[in-house]
Symmetry: C2
Subunit: 220 residues, 2 copies
């Protein structure tokens, strides 16, 4: 019964997500849905990405999803990019309708890349498409190597895994190889980039990945 309710919600959401995708394609806006546990470093990654200038030839926008507060939105707005903050109140994920509404507050013709920072949650966001071109999951080193096995849908649905906070490897009892092999067991086609938003390691590679995927969609 509960599963049935979920199915209907998901079907309705997929219709809205397809509509969003059509709008993004028409405006040539490449959309990345960033997902992870709370505190894996989504906002810090976006800050560093913007500060490093690895995407300086592209016009960037951000939709910021949080249960409450505008803390993350404010951090990114300080970097002079257009930001729309969604507060989901009770919902533990963004959905197609929320993104459709948020887009009315953005000038899509003035954007090349739109980052959607989802609510911090390693479960539900994976179930709700929002019209994105790419789903990217972040897993921070301190969370542990078993997470891809325990939350497989998230890693199965994503095309890129960013292993974040690699600067914490010396303190964490976590092996990078174990994260990699567990993630690839769930999704053998997953791309993987190791990075640290603190030291800047891997940020250039992350920028190249985005450019390559955008070019595959829309050309140079």
């Amino acid at each position: 019964m509960k599963v049935q309710v979920l199915q209907n919600i998901l079907e309705f959401n997929d219709t809205l997500a397809d509509q969003n995708r059509g709008v993004f394609d028409a405006h040539k806006v490449f959309v990345i849905n960033l997902m992870s546990s709370p505190g894996a470093g989504k906002t810090t990654l976006l800050e560093r990405t913007l500060k490093e200038g690895v995407l300086k030839d592209y016009r960037i926008g951000v939709i910021e999803g949080d249960i409450r507060t505008t803390l993350d939105g404010e951090r990114l707005e300080a970097l002079k990019v257009p930001v729309v903050q969604i507060n989901t109140a009770v919902a533990c994920h963004l959905d197609g309708q929320m993104i459709s509404n948020a887009c009315t507050a953005l000038d899509l013709d003035s954007l090349d890349i739109l980052f959607i920072e989802n609510v911090g949650n390693l479960v539900c966001p994976a179930e709700f498409r929002v019209g994105e071109h790419q789903k990217v999951v972040l897993l921070s080193v301190p969370e542990g190597a078993d997470k891809p096995l325990k939350y497989p849908l998230m890693f199965h649905e994503s095309s890129l895994l960013l292993i974040t906070k690699t600067d914490m490897l010396p303190q964490a009892d976590v092996e990078l190889n174990a994260i990699r092999s567990n993630a690839l067991q769930v999704n053998p086609t997953l791309d993987i980039i190791e990075l640290s938003a603190k030291t800047g390691a891997g940020i250039a590679q992350w920028g190249e990945w985005i450019k390559g995927k955008r070019t595959s969609c829309f050309g140079k």
Copy 2:
């Protein structure tokens, strides 16, 4: 409309949670619902708690909730306590019905304390009572100090915050005082214990907290 569906599910869940609580009270089993983001250290905390023997005068049982895998359940079963593993498949939280079912596999008369390790998720588990006496939230140092403000329901509903992985403070750009003040802003009556399951710091205090709360419920 979606909120309405959620309301009905929550009302039905509350009825089941009340029934579970009645069963736990009848058997004098003190039940703690452990909640946190993925990777905050719930299983490692239980391992260390059992190994340290801070609850050696009590008979312990564990209900282990995960989307998939029995990895955590196996880690705890190795420590010779009865463990029931629930795999929730699509659900991002435990609910009253799941706990009721799991209890049929436990001999409640042979337990004094039952730990319920919820699915790793800082959002939904806070909405679903399962019949517990105490809700305890773990926040690990690397997750950052803003989490109580961004996920307030979890911190509002819990009676104890365990700040975990304090051994990582030197590497994390996180202030303990900021975690404390943000958490107390959301819930001024919240108890707070700082601990490290790696070094053992704070584990004795956590044991004393449990004993005190259990005595308040059931006497010595």
